[in-house]
């Protein structure tokens, strides 16, 4: 009925391009995973991981290393487009700007969830985490947490590449905005991990989890919508 490709088609194509590039070069995923490993190593010397530390500081350690790694990865959001002025070509193409935001944002969500899933075993190893099905709700938290980070991260990454501060600017902007989401990520992860405390009845979906997951969903929806609306103003040249 409608032959003109819509915003989703464009977004999907752009996303596919980014994923294919990543698949061939692995230039974002591998450094990010390695970075999480290094942060965990630093935390080990700072806090002595293992034992009861899992329930006391585990969620905080997990999410701070994810957030640091994601800041690292977000910087690269538009890296592929900056060489050979590809961004200008993209902007000249009859593609809605919103599609570019959606593609980059979804790409960032996928990278972040990928990093989280790849590093969770490392985290489990260092903290002596007992594997089990009770960890399954973590998937939801990872997904929504990543969507929260990516929603504003993608918008600010587009700005940071043009600033004199460059790499500096992104964390300065992302971290304070992200705090509401971070609180819920840490709290939700805490409730999920607490199900693994020996002797405690395993509760698959603790009641408090709903509140924090709801908060994360709200954050992700509010900021991806807002960022999608504002993205035009950031990349217009």
């Amino acid at each position: 009925m409608n032959d003109v490709p819509g915003i989703w088609t464009h977004a999907r194509l752009l996303l596919r391009k980014d994923l294919m590039t990543e698949w061939r070069t692995k230039e974002r995923l591998s450094p990010m995973v390695f970075f999480v490993l290094l942060v965990l190593l630093v935390y080990n010397f700072a806090f002595e991981l293992g034992g009861a530390a899992l329930w006391e500081i585990g969620p905080g350690v997990l999410w701070s290393s994810f957030v640091f790694a994601s800041l690292f990865g977000l910087q690269r959001t538009f890296a592929a487009e900056s060489t050979n002025d590809c961004l200008d070509a993209l902007l000249a193409a009859p593609v809605e700007r919103g599609a570019l935001y959606l593609a980059k944002m979804m790409g960032n969500v996928l990278f972040l969830v990928g990093v989280q899933l790849l590093t969770l075993p490392l985290f489990g190893l260092f903290f002596n985490l007992t594997p089990g099905l009770y960890l399954l709700p973590l998937l939801v938290v990872f997904l929504l947490g990543s969507a929260s980070v990516a929603s504003i991260g993608t918008l600010f990454a587009a700005m940071a590449s043009h600033s004199r501060l460059r790499e500096f600017l992104l964390p300065l902007l992302v971290l304070p905005v992200l705090i509401p989401a971070l609180i819920s990520c840490v709290a939700a992860t805490g409730f999920i991990l607490a199900a693994g405390i020996p002797g405690r009845a395993v509760q698959f979906w603790p009641e408090e989890l709903t509140l924090h997951v709801g908060m994360l969903a709200l954050f992700a929806v509010v900021f991806s919508t807002l960022a999608w609306m504002l993205f035009d103003f950031v990349i217009e040249e």
């Binding site: 700005m159 705090i179 217009e236």
Partner: protein, 218 residues
């Protein structure tokens, strides 16, 4: 106009200081230190008003692309950060004798600190960007995102530190205290307006000078 405002401000501030120290009765439990309240709360309100003005200026800038809205947002952010800094400074002075510590990770305190950080970041975007239209656009985007974030921060911090709540949700004030509070609000309102006018004038002149310098160089 600025002069008249300056005179009004001087009188209002004098009245405020007089009311705080002479008119308002000493609070029964906290004693004299409670008098910080009048300036503390007035500053917090001024900061909140300024942050709203940043949002307003940012939206209007993106809609109209007029430089004056960009300057308006920038100046409001400076004042917002200034008044927040005062809140974050006067809060601990009050907290130390009452709560026993300078700092508690208490909901309102934490929210204020995060908001402060948000707008410091906003000012950094302005001052470290290359002067020009692009930086103005970026600043406006950050000004909007920051303002939308404030209620979320407030809500989530309340959830996070519900058991730490130390600020009273609502206070019944003695009539004399109530009057003092209103005089302080008025004085701070004048202060914000005057500072805003002065800074806007300065910025407008700087922009004009810049424009002149560019034309003469060409």
């Amino acid at each position: 106009m600025t002069r008249i405002l300056a005179v009004i401000l001087s009188l209002a501030m004098l009245a405020a200081v007089g009311a705080v120290f002479l008119h308002a009765p000493t609070e029964v439990q906290m004693g004299d230190v409670q008098r910080i309240f009048y300036f503390h709360v007035s500053s917090a309100l001024s900061a909140a008003a300024c942050y709203f003005l940043v949002f307003l200026g940012s939206v209007l800038y993106l809609r109209t692309r007029k430089d004056r809205w960009d300057r308006f947002a920038g100046v409001s952010a400076e004042l917002g950060v200034l008044f927040s800094a005062f809140v974050l400074f006067s809060g601990p002075l009050w907290a130390r004798p009452i709560w026993g510590v300078f700092w508690r990770w208490e909901p309102r305190l934490t929210t204020m600190l995060i908001t402060f950080a948000l707008y410091v970041a906003y000012l950094m975007v302005r001052s470290y960007g290359d002067p020009g239209e692009r930086t103005q656009r970026f600043a406006a985007v950050v000004g909007i995102v920051a303002f939308v974030n404030v209620p979320l921060v407030h809500y989530s911090i309340n959830m996070w530190a519900a058991d730490q709540q130390l600020h009273p949700p609502k206070v019944e004030l003695d009539p004399a205290m109530q009057q003092t509070k209103l005089i302080c609000y008025l004085a701070f309102g004048c202060l914000v307006t005057l500072l805003m006018r002065l800074r806007l004038n300065q910025e407008r002149q700087a922009a004009r000078l810049q424009a002149l310098a560019t034309t003469t160089h060409q």
